[in-house]
Symmetry: C2
Subunit: 399 residues, 2 copies
């Protein structure tokens, strides 16, 4: 099925007013007073900014509480407290992965997100229920938003016998990416944890995206082990590290050594700009040539009450956390949440140039920086040339 | 002029549904099925949360760019770069203090803010133009929002001869509070800077509110000098320190010694939860008995593009920065932006109890924490018993 559209009167990336002609789901032309074949639907962009589809390159679709009863959070302060609490809450509260994934992904569509990378819990208690649920949601939303899955051993990999086999089954089912978490802090066996992950990667030929919350020298040690395995196994360009707090909390000389290694091995970094934790230095990483993507991470879940699906608001958080004040810096935060994420996900034909896939949204704002700061409801969201949201509301109804 | 109102069907502080009866600008009663004298206006709160008037206890009304052309920020990275840039920009862009104060304060009213403490630049280049402008705005908004002024030597006190005399004149004109900034970093003469401030305080009998951005040991040194003078001059309970980044960036033992001193001398702390800087530990300070208020600080100005007038969104930022996840913690962040600020400003009869001044707003949210997380437009804002905003819009028009 082909999707064509003539979009009049927009400012692509804040440039001069132009029309955009979409044919067969791709941007055919950008320019003044374009003409379209008879019968092509026409939209007036009202002079708004056109931005490429936002990329939520790190989130957890299987476990938000969107649309559920208010969850009174009384959870203890450690990572393990939060993991154990969530493990119990999934059954007690009835956090149904398919339903919650649909709710969150449709909220993302309303905010102009065209691509999502979702970590999905793989765990001996719930098995592959999360993966199955998110896969059903992904099928239901095909053509509306692209969803990539990461098999994520949230509750530990070695700690709970049987998790590795579940991870392998998830990959056989079509999960694209192998996830991991805190090689020291979680399994308390960094060599063992990483050997399993890289072993799965080798056998299944899949890329890695590893949660690394560990700070300071501990995180630097784990990162070093990841660098070493990436090099030895020839996985350059196929490894991502999410959060990477240690890059913002070690001695500058050590951080610089890690950054040089990440750049050399083309390892990607994903950040949500979390205000309460050390942050990987986005500008420095990009300067070193490292692809940096952004993500909303989990939100409105048993971990904490904050957040929403909006990657323009996330760009603001990344800007605030990195002390980005100049317009070129705020534009960099936006780039992290668009082209940066696209690079991490390996998206082809991404952007607003002719030939690119017609994934974009229209936003308020006189400049790109103002679009980030306002993050006003998106006037129009287009996916593959078809309108999927208007005036901040997705055209698909959430369950 | 008296203001009466019967507000039906609200949940004061998230408690059970109740009515609130307002007479003569004060809350007379809170309870079920209240009756009011004939002719009393009646509003239906729709079951929403009632919160006491939000308190923006640290902002800069004289210099936002609200309603002006987009300002392309290309400013250098240091504090001095930003100060010098702003000094030039005020004339070049025509940042008119009265107009900008009206715009910002009216935006605050729309968000449910009942009280504002505004630092106002006092400077040899612009003299008291800022103070005069904000004072005119305050007069224009009397009965709609209460505004307290701080004479703020943004560009230095000793650096620019004549600033002390201007500060004294500002106090004679009715400015309530004496401001200061970075005793080491700004004037590079901590003893000289603080002696002038405390000298003004002694002669004019006014409280102090000092910006302290200095981090680590340097900030701890400046804070120690403030503690010493507060003790010696008997200014207990009359000194506030804004930002206080050093409390989040020194060794724990040193921070604890400072916290003990702050508590002993009843020095208040004001925070905006800025994600890019170290933060005073809100929960620890409150545990020590220290009054902690919140503020939006300057926003949409030549310093940076972010922010808005909403103190519920600010409560979220303070919560995020302090890693507050549990409901009781998020409620603490809200308390910082309501009762905490009220305590710093010395407000009497503040709150939702019978006898308090009828300053409050109605907010969406099933719980207090959800009100913070959503920070949806305020359905109704009441000041001194009169409706001043509805559905997120102030009833007073901004220039």
């Amino acid at each position: 099925m082909t999707a064509s559209l003539l979009l009049r009167n927009v400012r692509p990336m804040g440039e001069a007013i132009a029309d955009m002609l979409i044919e067969d789901g791709r941007i055919r032309a950008v320019g003044a007073a374009l003409r379209a074949p008879a019968g092509t639907p026409v939209e007036d962009g009202g002079g708004r900014l056109a931005l490429p589809g936002l990329v939520d390159a790190h989130t957890h679709l299987d476990k938000s509480l969107l649309g559920m009863a208010w969850y009174r959070n009384e959870v203890g302060p450690t990572l393990i407290d939060r993991i154990e609490n969530e493990r119990r809450a999934k059954a007690e509260l009835g956090i149904e992965p398919e339903r919650q994934a649909l709710r969150q992904a449709i909220a993302s569509v309303a905010c102009g997100t065209s691509h999502i990378r979702s970590h999905v819990d793989v765990d001996t208690l719930y098995g592959l229920a999360g993966v199955e649920g998110v896969m059903r949601a992904r099928e239901a939303l095909r053509g509306i938003v692209d969803i990539e899955l990461v098999a994520f051993p949230q509750s530990g990999l070695l700690l709970r016998a049987g998790t590795e086999a579940l991870m392998a089954r998830a990959l056989d089912m079509g999960v694209e990416v192998i996830g991991g978490i805190d090689p020291c802090g979680m399994d308390r066996d960094p060599k063992g944890h990483l050997d399993v992950l890289f072993g799965l990667a080798e056998r299944h030929g899949r890329p890695l995206d590893i949660h690394l919350h560990e700070t300071g020298e501990l995180g630097a040690f784990s990162m070093d082990l990841i660098l070493e395995r990436t090099r030895v196994l020839g996985m350059q360009g196929r490894v991502a590290i999410s959060h990477a707090f240690c890059l913002g909390s070690t001695e500058p000389a050590l951080a610089e050594r890690l950054i040089a290694g990440l750049a050399d091995l083309r390892i990607h970094i994903l950040t949500s700009g979390l205000p309460s934790r050390p942050t990987p230095p986005v500008a420095r990483l990009r300067q070193a040539g490292i692809a940096v993507g952004g993500g909303n991470d989990g939100f409105r879940d048993t971990w904490g009450p904050y957040g929403n699906a909006d990657m323009l608001e996330r760009a603001m958080m990344i800007g605030l956390r990195n002390n980005f004040r100049r317009d070129d810096e705020v534009e960099m935060a936006l780039d992290v949440c668009t082209h940066g994420g696209a690079r991490v996900l390996g998206l082809e034909d991404y952007g607003l140039r002719p030939g690119c896939r017609a994934d974009f949204c229209l936003s308020e704002g006189r400049t790109l920086a103002e679009a980030v700061v306002l993050h006003a409801p998106r006037a129009l969201v287009v996916k593959g040339g078809r309108v999927v949201a208007r005036a901040g509301r997705a055209l698909t109804e959430a369950p």
